[in-house]
Symmetry: C2
Subunit: 361 residues, 2 copies
């Protein structure tokens, strides 16, 4: 079914209010989820609400806690998210980096003791909207098997990069692994198979049954019972196709998040009492090197040339972000898509909180 | 054949001296190529000398030119490599960033009007040896086909990331594409087939004949005659295996190099008079967030746990850099490997310059 984005937001704000988030924090959380659904990134939209709700009930997320700044310099910020949602600490930190970067050219923040932060692109875009280059990273629960390994160890470890451009900032946003686990969740909820070589079993045989993979990933990510296997690194199953490069990209994120924040690495976030995630944010002022309008023009010109390259008939060359901006405009009019399982979950959450659920359009 | 690394260095220093490089610049260039050969990265070792020599003869490289600083702030450096080798400007810039970063926590440099800079890892490691996190990027000639496209447009666009660790810094260093063109060059020189899905023809059919791909890439990279096809993005030939993520990684490098430096993008470096490359360097002081020794210990602990994961029998789980450090120690004793074609090229260059060529061990 489809629901109006404004109704989705109202519902989420009301639920987050009942959960004990401040008005400001609840509005932010609702905005990040609705934004993802509008962009067609349903893996990071309202389908995560049931999971968030479970984590609040088990005190992995503490909605009333305030962000703490542990250390600050003119170029940096070390933040304790204080077991609240990652969105709250990340939005706070990126606002601070935007100010710092406008003064001094570049700055970075590391966040510990955090939770899921929605899409990484949300924070990278905050910088780009201010004429800055933005980067956002997070580690996650363990889901991804290193090159040649049988067991998941790495997080799906999101990476987002945003660069000022017209009519929209350039946004490249996604897991460093071949896909995010959320994408497999959505296929499983819709009873669809996995269309590529995304996941393997305990002997590194590729599995296309989304439900089986989703079941295994739930155990891998949330329990100490490890069935083996997991999501592949970018590059796929074979070392001969350079899957060690995807592994390398994942490790870069591990080092800049869990290690630099002195929180747990992804592999340890499924251990009791070690659930917390770490995030890394960076902002650069391109003004250090030239004129913003020239950068925007040159970037857009490059994108247009790529979009216009000769290509496979029936396919489209999408610049990262193109598909999401197109979805955004369409879904704002037609409503955001909610799968049946998520609709049932929302009904349950609505009932529990006495909040009316958005009606199908 | 194998030759002694010290002999390789002596030979290169003598040749670079005859080419008109300063003693200091020639020593640096020789060091970067010998370092690559010692690490087993022969794609970026002395096999590049014949290419460098051709570029010097055609004044694409100007060995006597000095690096110019165009703009400097406490956190940044904009450098004009002045048509000299990328190694010279990049080493100069990273030395400056190390000083800046020790004072202010983070700094970055952009280099324009540059040439090939050897391995990106060389500059990232410079930072890590000083207890800093280092990043180095370069654009290249056009070699890589975007998702769904028939023609090469992107550079192979190297990315290196180094993080302090013991006994060696962590170094992840490679093309953002599925492989560098140098790797295909080495297979072609050794009459070996391509072992994975690395390159496609003008209709995106995978090609495993290294000589054919190498011939096509030479045209794509160096002439205006475009036979079509090229190297694939990380993720391979299919959109369903997320090759758009490899495409995204390549675009990030394009934006931070050619666009930010206001030099040509990779696609335009095969045009007459627009040969120049751009580089991007970044250094971060982890000291902003905690204690260096703790970071090193935690990183190494993570690497050891990954190395010890259960894995495919007969395979090894290499942390990025492991293989290269192992090669380094072995090749220092046994000598670096020189393929027959490169040996013949060195003989010719030695004769032309009246420099004795290293003898086979």
């Amino acid at each position: 079914m489809r629901i109006k984005a404004s109704e989705e937001k109202r519902f989420l704000q009301a639920v987050f209010d009942k959960d004990g988030f401040s008005r400001e924090d609840g509005d932010l959380l609702a905005d990040t989820l609705v934004d993802a659904d509008l962009r067609g990134i349903s893996s990071h939209g309202i389908q995560r609400l049931a999971w968030y709700t479970r984590m609040i009930k088990s005190h992995i997320i503490e909605p009333g806690n305030k962000v703490k700044v542990l250390k600050e310099t003119p170029t940096s910020l070390l933040v304790d998210a204080n077991k609240n949602m990652g969105q709250i600490a990340s939005s706070f930190a990126m606002h601070s980096l935007i100010e710092k970067t406008k003064k001094i050219g570049i700055s970075l923040a590391v966040i510990r003791n955090s939770n899921h932060f929605g899409t990484a692109g949300y924070y990278a875009r905050m910088a780009a909207k201010q004429g800055l280059i933005g980067i956002a990273l997070t580690n996650t629960r363990p889901l991804v098997v290193p090159t040649n390994a049988y067991d998941a160890f790495l997080g799906s470890n999101a990476f987002a990069f945003s660069f000022p451009a017209e009519p929209h900032p350039f946004v490249f946003d996604g897991a460093t692994s071949i896909v995010s686990s959320g994408k497999i969740q959505v296929l499983a909820k819709n009873h669809q198979p996995i269309p590529g070589d995304w996941a393997v079993d305990s002997k590194r045989h590729v599995v296309h049954d989304a439900k089986k993979v989703e079941d295994d990933l739930s155990k891998i990510a949330f329990t100490e019972h490890q069935p083996g296997g997991g999501v592949l690194t970018l590059g796929g199953n074979l070392e001969s196709n350079s899957n060690y490069k995807g592994f390398g990209n994942s490790l870069v994120v591990e080092l800049l998040t869990g290690i630099l924040a002195q929180g747990p690495i992804s592999a340890d976030t499924n251990q009791p009492g070690k659930h917390d995630f770490s995030q890394f944010l960076l902002a650069i002022n391109p003004d250090l090197f030239g004129d913003l309008e020239t950068f925007k023009k040159n970037a857009e010109n490059m994108f247009d040339r790529i979009r216009g390259l000769d290509h496979i008939p029936g396919s489209t060359i999408f610049i990262p972000g193109d598909r999401e901006y197109k979805n955004y405009d369409q879904n704002l009019k037609a409503g955001v898509v909610i799968d049946d399982q998520t609709a049932a979950e929302l009904q349950k959450i609505g009932n529990e909180n006495q909040v009316p659920v958005p009606e199908a359009l």
